[in-house]
Symmetry: C2
DNA sequence: ATGAAAGCGCTAACAC
DNA sequence: GTGTTAGCGCTTTCAT
């Protein structure tokens, strides 16, 4: 295995003690230049690599971060993972990717795996059913920092890195008003979802405050199919919306399907605007105007917070990334 | 850390030796039922968890698989990862996800990381520039099994799990012929890519053999944008294609954009068929007919091969997953 | 049926 | 400047 070169082996070859070799490799000041040179030469010749597990055993820590995601197959989450991976690599960290599948039981098992792997820290987006986060808090006390991202516990005091949900919804609403749309169909996800609970009120408020005359119809859809159906229904009415707002990529895909089917001209007949992670809107023509909530940026921020935390800056923080309007021509 | 319960701790509490405790926990036949019971009770009370690193250190192996992907942000790869993750979890394996970004240097670094982490095996999709795979072969000799998937070395003898590229291209071609299309625009990716080199000849051959009268135009596109441009150009000609074949999701997105822009009726005016990993085609109306090359299935197969390999079935194999036609209404 | 001891590879406190 | 020793937590051989 691994060529199997160990400190012991090098020590024997050079008739030195193991500790001398260890220190030489670490440029310990006590060791003579001469010895250092001999040791390093042989080490590189033998392609010596320290045994990670021996080190982990001693330090009870590993250079691995646990990343718990509800599901990998979502543009948002894998762009998050990608970003953590890139940042981590620079500092010698690897990633343990764990899927919770929105199941609190799996989530706890994953947390346990993080403990068993003595991870240096955990990034977690909690499931929609996670109510108790004591386990995470406890984990943080006895094991390693926990950074919550995206789906975070609502009340507890902990490190949270958030998409700018309110800001994004606000920006979309403002853009709609700016474009003088009067008849808004706004599609949101499941009412229980935390992102819905954030995006919806922020969205509504802008209209109430800035354009109370707007006719605003709020609908909820739990899947692209539901979004399709709801939209189809609304478009069949006499008074059609002049703009459709989609809370997420998932909803956008459902809406766009019926738009294509009915061959509705965007933005001439009906405009479209969405909140998105940034890939889906570019698939259509015209490209859909959207407010971006980027997994990549979120990842960078979460990673930085983790590094700070590890470096001892253990104060609690709640950070949001900035939302960004990307104009596509659909509004 | 971890509540910190160790064998030693349990042993002391129970006035037993460490080895007795270790054996009791493993149901070793030598140990009396009485002792087993006492040990197990205390262990579960203390939430004893064996220290992974100590075990890894002794066994020089870990229950972790390395997964090297060119990029996480591709539906194909993350569905592959997802599938490996699910299968692995059942057997107690975790995943070390490494991105090569299509860079051979990063690829080698990732392989090294796999070695340092004493992974139980490596799944790798090589970069387009990887020419030497000695390192992988060497790794396999000294460390752990290597399963190549998707992008695999062409000539070397090694375990390969492949998408059914030829079969998929063949099926698409046959479907086109079956639908009596006479004027085919076929868009392929970069000529150097191994999937292009497999899909293109298989696709062409079917027409030559079964429908030589078909007018077949082959074009290459390296990006959605290029696919868009090429398609736009071809659609502006007098003799328009009656069907467009897209080698990949990437190309499909480019093609669909211009189709939407020109408001071309699918399949009435022009039909579309693609080879796909299965998500993108469902975004459009009508849904695009495609031949599926599923990352998920590939993952399952690759995982099974890995398990077999670890179980000692070290013979070399080259396996392809079956392609599947999914009808969407676009052809 | 149980215990003692060695060793996996590494680090660090403590000699000399 | 270099060596000795103990120990991280676990498994396993060899006693008893």
């Amino acid at each position: 295995m691994n060529g199997g070169t160990t400190l012991k082996y090098i020590a024997e070859k050079l008739s030195l003690s193991i500790s001398t070799v260890s220190r030489a490799l670490k440029d310990h000041p006590d060791i003579s230049e001469e010895t250092k040179k001999r040791v390093k030469e042989l080490a590189s010749l033998m392609e010596y690599e320290p045994n990670t597990y021996a080190i982990n055993l001693r330090t009870n820590q590993s250079k691995v971060f646990g990343v718990i995601v509800p599901e990998i197959s979502s543009y948002f989450y894998h762009s998050f993972i990608e970003s953590i991976e890139e940042e981590g690599k620079k500092q010698g960290y690897s990633l343990l990717i764990l899927q919770s599948g929105d199941d609190p039981v799996a989530e706890m098992e994953n947390l346990k795996l993080c403990r068993l792997n003595r991870v240096a820290g955990v990034f977690v987006s909690i499931t929609t059913h996670t109510t108790h986060i004591e386990n995470f808090l406890h984990f943080e006390e006895i094991a390693a920092p926990v950074i919550f991202y995206d789906k975070v516990p609502e009340f507890a005091a902990c490190n949270k890195i958030l998409s700018a949900d309110e800001e994004a919804a606000t920006m979309a609403a403002e853009e709609i008003i700016k474009k003088k749309k009067k008849n808004v169909l706004a599609l949101f996800g499941n009412k229980e979802m935390s992102i819905t609970r954030k995006r919806l009120p922020a969205f509504e408020r802008i209209f109430i405050e800035n354009a109370p005359e707007t006719k605003l119809i709020i609908e909820h859809a739990n899947s692209p199919e539901e979004a399709y159906t709801v939209t189809k229904h609304m478009l069949s009415k006499n008074e059609k919306p002049d703009v459709i707002f989609c809370m997420s990529d998932e909803i956008l895909t459902g809406v766009m399907k019926i738009m294509q089917q009915l061959q509705i001209k965007i933005p001439d007949t009906v405009s479209v605007i969405a909140l998105s992670n940034g890939f889906i809107p570019t698939l259509y023509f015209p490209e859909i105007t959207y407010v971006e909530t980027s997994g990549k940026k979120l990842g960078k921020l979460a990673f930085q917070r983790m590094i700070d935390h590890i470096a001892g800056k253990t104060f609690i923080q709640e950070i949001s990334i900035r939302a960004k309007l990307v104009s596509g021509g659909s509004l």
